[in-house]
């Protein structure tokens, strides 16, 4: 039976059994390698199993992996943090700080403290996608150098191609126009009725 089928079976009938932990841990390992897609429900189930038993250091590596995997989604990371065993908090300090930096849009600060991403390009790219989505919400244009530092790229790297980026022009990265990052055109109608004004102007 493939790992995906085993995980699906665990999730349908055995997600509260501690005997399912090895399968769920294997799933996390494969997700980190990029061999299987992200599986938030299974990762959450693993963390809940850990949070229902006394903490041991053998739990730390899978916990760190699934926190790393969830960094590309603000809601998923926050949801997992609430379930994280209290005894693992100190060991996961850096990862928690990384999540906070992303939440506060301190992207430069994030790349300064990041750990665990060095050799994992898939995860790096998914986090960069999240950063660019956030940037495209608030910026119409941003200096290229600032943009690169926010993506953890060096000054010599070319600007990565992402769907939210329109073009690079005159040293600035121009984002695609959306309702969020552009001035709303046209005045809103106030619906002033002339008859009412005339009546009170006598």
């Amino acid at each position: 039976m493939s790992l995906e089928s085993q995980v699906a079976e665990v999730m349908s009938s055995a997600q509260f059994s501690h005997e399912s932990i090895p399968i769920l841990v294997k799933s996390v390992e494969e997700q980190i390698k990029g061999s299987t897609p992200l599986n938030f429900p299974a990762n959450k189930a693993l963390l809940k199993l850990y949070s229902s038993t006394l903490y041991t250091t053998s739990q730390l590596s899978p916990i760190k992996s699934l926190l790393l995997l969830s960094l590309s989604s603000s809601t998923e990371f926050s949801a997992l943090l609430h379930i994280l065993p209290s005894d693992a908090l100190e060991s996961c300090e850096t990862l928690i700080a990384m999540g906070k930096k992303l939440e506060e849009c301190d992207f430069v600060g994030f790349w300064k403290i990041e750990e665990g991403l060095e050799s994992n390009n898939t995860l790096k790219e998914s986090i960069r996608s999240r950063i660019i989505k956030d940037l495209s919400l608030g910026y119409s244009t941003i200096p290229e150098s600032t943009f690169k530092s926010m993506l953890g790229c060096s000054a010599n790297d070319s600007v990565p191609s992402f769907e939210d980026v329109e073009e690079v022009e005159g040293g600035n990265v121009v984002f695609k126009n959306t309702v969020y990052n552009s001035v709303k055109k046209g005045a809103k109608e106030q619906g002033i009725e002339l008859e009412r004004i005339v009546a009170i102007m006598n």
Binding site: F16, T75, A79, K100, E103, C105, L137, G138, S140, P143
Partner: protein
């Protein structure tokens, strides 16, 4: 739980058990069951069992043809009486676990029973039964994790009964009931295998939401409600006020913890308004559990007070806003002034989070209260989120004053560095534009659409923040002026008619 010799059991009590069994099995008339469950049982408890438990199931078996399923329900009912009126011992807590396990294990076999529909249970009975189950689980977690207060005998008994109130089994019971009821495939219950199984499954989903909230799985808490339309009058839970209050409170807390403040505000506001109406009409005071409703009402108002401070764009109903200002105005004013205070308000408002971990009773280390640690962790994490969001309120106020402003100038106003200011502007934009909102009557509670409710629109071009002038002027103020200009003209005409005025 034997209480008295068989021949001393009052005949009224025997008749009650006979009648209740008959109502559940044969007549199945809700009004009859309600009169027995909510009326006769309460009267007999007050008359005969104020200071002692009800007769055991074995003693009453002759009154109900030794019907095992009914006797399991009877055992649960009398267990609840014991916990609500007497001082249960550790053995009582362990026996309660056995009672619930026996009942649920038997319920789960009903899905294969061709006569499953031959047993009916009132919706309020099903709700109160499962609500109490989760309540007892919560209490037992607090009890067993508070090691410093446990005697050596208690630790020995707990060690010998490590499986009792195990969270995995509790989850299996609740999920098992939900699955067996067919609720996920058919929420209406039309294809349910038996009325009692449907009732138990339905309220298991509601109580699962509460349990997940207490364990800190806020995502799971909302997911558990996916088989029902929350805030819909037609839903089964709507007619049981205690169920409505519990659902609204825990769903609201979950939305709040997931930073879906608009959904949290809507959930809390709707429930607080309903409680307010119930108090004013006098209806609520006649219900059992009135004090608990008012406690939860105060907690929900505290959440609304926090939301109104950290998300000023979310408008709270005037009547509720008035009450929150009266109750929490002083504390919020201190917080606005820069003092610490969110911890206190949040600790008052939040549920009693617990840890489901079974401690090491034989450990020689300094005993730790794992539930208290879990509670502190949830409070700390939520308060950190609140503080991060509240940092953005001042920025929003400044943006409303300008059409465009340099990030550097904004940074000077807020007394932070320019790079940190740019991050904060972007974070504010995310808070306004990227918040999920559940659209009523559309999809489960976890689902949502990103809706831009910002009362101030802005974006950054390089190091300049451009504020959208159209959105700033979008309030329809013309009607206000037109109405008041007309009124002022009439008033002026009246004044001029006063003799000797000029």
């Amino acid at each position: 739980m034997s209480s008295e010799p068989k021949d001393e059991i009052p005949s009224a009590v025997r008749d009650f058990v006979f009648d209740l069994h008959d109502a559940c099995r044969r007549s199945q008339r809700p009004e009859e069951m309600k009169a027995l469950y909510s009326g006769v049982f309460v009267e007999l408890s007050a008359k005969h069992y104020t200071h002692k438990p009800w007769p055991s199931a074995e003693e009453m078996s002759s009154e109900c043809e030794s019907d095992e399923l009914f006797l399991n329900f009877y055992s649960e009912l009398t267990t609840r009486h014991l916990f609500n009126n007497l001082r249960p011992t550790l053995n009582d807590k362990i026996n309660a676990w056995k009672t619930y396990s026996s009942l649920f294990d038997q319920m789960l076999t009903l899905k294969d029973d061709t006569k499953a529909d031959a047993f009916h249970v009132l919706p309020e009975w099903a709700f109160e039964l499962i609500h109490e189950y989760v309540y007892q689980f919560q209490g037992f977690c607090q009890f067993r994790t508070h090691l410093a207060q446990r005697t050596a005998e208690e630790k020995e008994l707990l060690e010998a009964n490590k499986d009792v109130w195990d969270v995995g089994t509790v989850m299996k019971h609740l999920h098992g009931l939900i699955g067996a009821s067919g609720l996920k495939t058919d929420p209406t219950g039309a294809s349910a295998h038996g009325q009692s199984l449907y009732m138990m499954g339905y309220f298991a989903a509601l109580s699962l939401s509460r349990l997940e909230c207490l364990l800190g799985d806020f995502h799971g808490s909302l997911d558990a409600l996916s088989c029902m339309n929350i805030n819909e009058k037609g839903e089964l839970y709507w007619n049981i006020f205690a169920a409505r209050v519990s659902l609204s409170y825990h769903a609201g807390v979950s939305y709040f913890a997931l930073r879906r403040y608009r959904d949290a505000a809507k959930t809390f506001s709707d429930m607080c308004s309903a409680i307010n109406k119930g108090v004013n009409s006098g209806y609520l005071k006649r219900l059992t559990g009135y004090e608990q409703f008012m406690k939860l009402n105060d907690k929900m108002l505290a959440f609304l007070a926090i939301i109104s401070l950290i998300q000023p764009a979310i408008k709270i109903e005037d009547s509720l806003s008035k009450v929150t200002n009266q109750m929490f105005g002083d504390k919020l004013a201190k917080v606005e002034g820069g003092d610490e205070g969110f911890d206190e308000i949040f600790s008052f408002a939040c549920p009693k989070f617990v840890s489901p971990v079974v401690p090491d009773y034989k450990s020689s280390e300094e005993p730790r209260n794992l539930s208290a640690i879990a509670y502190s962790k949830q409070v700390r994490q939520c308060v950190d989120d609140i503080k991060s969001t509240s940092n953005l309120v001042r920025l929003r106020s400044y943006l409303k004053l300008y059409t465009s402003i340099d990030v550097a100038k904004l940074a000077t106003f807020c007394e932070i560095e320019e790079s940190a200011m740019a991050n904060r502007v972007l974070a504010l934009k995310k808070t306004i534009c990227a918040q999920l909102e559940h659209q009523r009557k559309q999809g489960p509670p976890l689902a949502g659409t990103v809706v831009d409710h910002g009362d101030v629109g802005f974006h950054m071009a390089g190091s300049t923040v451009n504020v959208d002038p159209v959105v700033r002027g979008s309030k329809k103020t013309h009607r206000f002026f037109l109405n008041n200009v007309g009124s002022a003209k009439e008033l002026a005409a009246d004044v001029l008619q006063i003799p000797d005025f000029v």
